[in-house]
Amino acid sequence: MPEPRPYYLNLIQIRLPIGGWVSIFHRVSGAALSLAVPLVLYVWMLSLRSPEDYAAVTGFLSGWFGFLVLLGVVWATLHHLLAGLRHLGFDIGWGEGRERARLTAWGVLFAALGLTGLFGLGCLL
């Protein structure tokens, strides 16, 4: 008996290939960063305005909530950057074969998470 084919796109049942996951995270991180631009500019402005505001910003970023936000921004930036470089490769015809595309997809996923982890450790030490 062949398995019944899905008749609709059930997001819980669909199994994305790894390239699909990297792609959706690329979109989600890009959208989040795009919407966060005014907030990032505001925090950047404060950090440059006066020593007191700089201390307030670093104080916020060392708290648990601010630190999580910072890690989120760093992860989104790294994932979007690395997945974007992978896409630039596709644009010039590099890495489009299935094997290499899967390999680079895993690479992007783990490199972004790993570098975010290293960044977090660097901040804590």
Partner: protein
Amino acid sequence: MRTVGGARRGLTIWLVQRAGAVVMAAYLPLFALYAWLAGSADYAGWRGLFEPLAAKVTTLLFFAALLSHAWIGMREIVIDYVHCPRCLGLRLALHFSFAVLYLACLVWTADILWTLA
């Protein structure tokens, strides 16, 4: 009657987004290296990173690349998800709103950089 939908400008926009991507991919590691070599993490050191004219100009160019890249990316998302029988007006309104927001952000960036000493 002219139509404003469709994909006439797709290739140009695609190319602008790639150009912005390359600018950012060059700026981010270079700036991280520059900041790391400068080495001081206090307020004066942080502010000092952005005071040289070359840093201001390249940082403003980075934000111009980022904002155009974000504007094109939000356009893709709006085109993909905002669908209804008469949604072209809504898509155009969103696209225009992001243009206004990001142009304002670019001017704001210039102000942040050039009000430093």
